[in-house]
């Protein structure tokens, strides 16, 4: 059982083109017709020794789309993401950005290409404050010789930029000088998403964005995702266990099972039962 359905695209000109090919058994999304996807992965294989972690996975992500990835533990969701973002080397396959083949050797390269990733827990340095985390690895330096020659950081500018960003995205952080460890889980996650947006990621990938945080804060993070999408036209990939989040937020969902992609469905014309059925491998009637 393997379900692929075309989704109507958010962008009208694309919608016209793709609406004609909407069939249930369409094996491959006809990317050439559906406007160029911002990200496309073709026939991705990833082996860990003899274990096939990813087996011929192909998917695409359209501009401004929120794509959900669901699947059981060990189904290959995180492996797929890590392969796309250069955290893992793929065994074979092809990755295209805006229709052009790219080599994503490492996470730094991914960020240069505009792919930002928000990880479950490990993305922030808990002992550092929000501005330092926002600029982690890309610190602003002073414009004088101290900055150029000795790498003196410009804390004041970093703080101003942080205040600006948090205001724009409506993220509330009370004390910017405090280590982010003192912030709630939701605020930390918001800082992570904000960081990805600040660095003008064209594609932002969230790995279990709502894990280990309170329900109110989950809603805040999900709303932030929508705001960033709507205001900056960013495309999102969201890995989640939470069907509510996927169905409230995503436009489309792909389902992984045992390293294979077994479903590519439009949220508008699928049901939770169908998606859960694909995740577990139960038959759908």
């Amino acid at each position: 059982m393997d379900l692929r359905r075309q989704c109507p695209n958010r962008y009208p000109e694309v919608m016209l083109l793709s609406s004609g090919t909407q069939t249930k058994t369409d094996r491959l999304a006809p990317h050439a017709e559906a406007g160029t996807p911002v990200l496309e992965a073709r026939n991705i294989h990833k082996n860990f020794g003899g274990l096939k972690a990813l087996d011929d996975v192909s998917f695409h992500l359209n501009k401004g789309e929120i794509l959900g990835i669901v699947g059981d533990n060990g189904a290959g969701k995180s492996t797929l993401i890590k392969t796309v973002t250069g955290a893992y080397r793929k065994t074979s396959g092809e990755i295209l950005l805006n229709g052009k083949p790219v080599e994503v050797e490492n996470t730094r390269r991914a960020r240069e290409l505009g792919i930002e990733t928000v990880y479950q827990a490990s993305g922030l340095v808990e002992v550092m404050d929000a501005p330092s985390n926002l600029f982690l690895g890309r610190e602003m330096t002073r414009s004088n010789w101290l900055g150029n020659a000795l790498g003196f950081i410009n804390r004041r500018m970093m703080r101003i930029e942080t205040v600006e960003l948090l205001k724009t995205l409506n993220i509330e952080v009370r004390n910017l000088a405090a280590p982010v460890r003192n912030l709630s889980g939701g605020q930390q996650q918001s800082v992570s998403v904000g960081r990805a947006a600040y660095w003008q990621g064209k594609i932002i990938i969230l790995d279990e964005p709502a894990n280990n945080i309170g329900v109110d804060q989950q809603r805040a993070v999900l709303e932030l995702v929508e705001r960033v999408r709507d205001s900056q036209g960013v495309s999102f990939i969201i890995i989640s266990h939470n069907m509510d989040h996927i169905f409230n937020l995503a436009d489309r969902v792909i389902v992984m099972r045992s390293g294979r992609m077994v479903g590519d469905l439009c949220i508008a014309d699928t049901s939770r039962a169908e998606v859960v059925g694909l995740i577990t491998g139960a038959t759908i009637t």
Binding site: A87, T107, R108, R111, T117, Y119, S122, G123, L124, V125, E126, V127, M128, S132, L136, G137, R138, E139, T141, L150, G151, F152, I153, R155, N175, A177, A178, P179, R181, N182
Partner: protein
């Protein structure tokens, strides 16, 4: 009414300090230092004389210089217990090159500093690239460097250094002893490096959360190796001061100093688990240790009790800190 006010005030202070853990640590360490000075001003008559003060500062300067280095290494998430042996090796290189071989003192000093760089490179490479835990690497280096020191200089003291070196040990610059000047420079540079430069921030990030640092594109290997190299150079500086103060060099120099420096740094609030380095705290910690020892001595306490007191103080301070910040405790 006033009770509620003071409670509010205390709560406000607590919130501030929670948000700025390093200031809180500095404040507590500084209070301890003040308390100690207060107590000794009553128990020891000659405690407040200029000679004692000067002696205390000069003596502490070596611990302060080493403390700055160890703070940076601990911040990067590693440890270096080979610093005493780097001092021994550095002293021997200085003595053999200047006294035995007659090389000009300037070159001798450069050679000593280079040895510090090499020792740090070795520790850093084995830790960051070969990935042997730094406690093992530097435990091995501790005997390795000491062995080299003995091979180089033998077991006897080497004497006969030129006047310039003696000036480093006992000279003054506008009334301030040279070792104290060197310590001051080290503290200022160390503080600026760790808190105000990109590389320093990267060291904090690597020690705070190596995975996050890696994902942010920070070069973990470089950061850790650099921390060890800084430690090596500062150990070499300390060895120069030690030789200069004694006007003699011996292979055994610096033996056991790593534990005292570690005690000073931990007293100052630097985390053993990385990510939090309080350089000014290490300065205060070093001052506390020297003042405790000097104060007890001048108060007529037997030397064995001084050792007991230092041990109790160290454990008590860390225990109190942990009870105040449960989130700090990591398995």
């Amino acid at each position: 009414m006033s009770d509620a006010n003071s409670r509010d005030f205390l709560m406000a202070v607590r919130t501030r300090l929670d948000a700025a853990p390093e200031s809180a640590l500095l404040l507590s360490t500084f209070s301890l230092l003040l308390l100690m000075i207060l107590v000794f001003s009553f128990t020891a008559d000659q405690f407040f004389t200029l000679a004692v003060l000067r002696n205390v500062l000069t003596q502490t300067s070596i611990y302060i210089i080493l403390g700055v280095g160890l703070t940076i290494v601990l911040t990067s998430g590693e440890i270096d217990i080979s610093i005493g042996s780097i001092i021994g090796l550095g002293a021997m290189v200085l003595a053999v090159s200047v006294v035995n071989m007659g090389i000009p003192i300037g070159f001798g000093l450069i050679a000593t500093l280079l040895v510090g760089v090499l020792c740090g490179l070795m520790n850093g490479f084995l830790t960051a690239v070969v990935r042997v835990p730094s406690i093992i690497v530097t435990l091995g280096a501790l005997t390795f460097f000491r062995g080299l020191a003995y091979l180089l200089g033998g077991g006897t003291a080497l004497v006969g250094f030129p006047p310039f070196l003696v000036w480093i040990g006992s000279g003054t610059v506008i009334g301030v002893p040279v070792p104290v000047c060197l310590a001051l420079i080290t503290v200022v540079l160390g503080q600026l490096f760790l808190k105000s430069t990109r590389t320093g921030q990267h060291i904090i990030a690597v020690g705070g959360n190596a995975e996050a640092a890696r994902l942010a594109g920070i070069n973990i290997r470089f950061s850790k190796i650099l921390a060890f190299v800084i430690m090596g150079v500062l150990s070499a500086v300390a060895s120069i001061i030690m030789v200069a103060r004694l006007d003699a060099a011996q292979s055994v120099m610096g033996a056991g100093i790593e534990l005292q420096v570690l005690a000073a740094v931990v007293l100052g609030g630097t985390s053993l688990f990385g990510g939090r380095g309080v350089i000014l705290g290490s300065v205060l910690g070093a001052l506390i240790l020297t003042i405790l020892q000097t104060g007890l001595l001048l108060s007529g306490v037997v030397q064995f009790w001084q050792l007991v007191a230092v041990g109790i103080l160290l454990i008590a301070v860390v225990a109190i800190r942990i009870s105040y910040e449960p989130s700090e405790v990591r398995p």
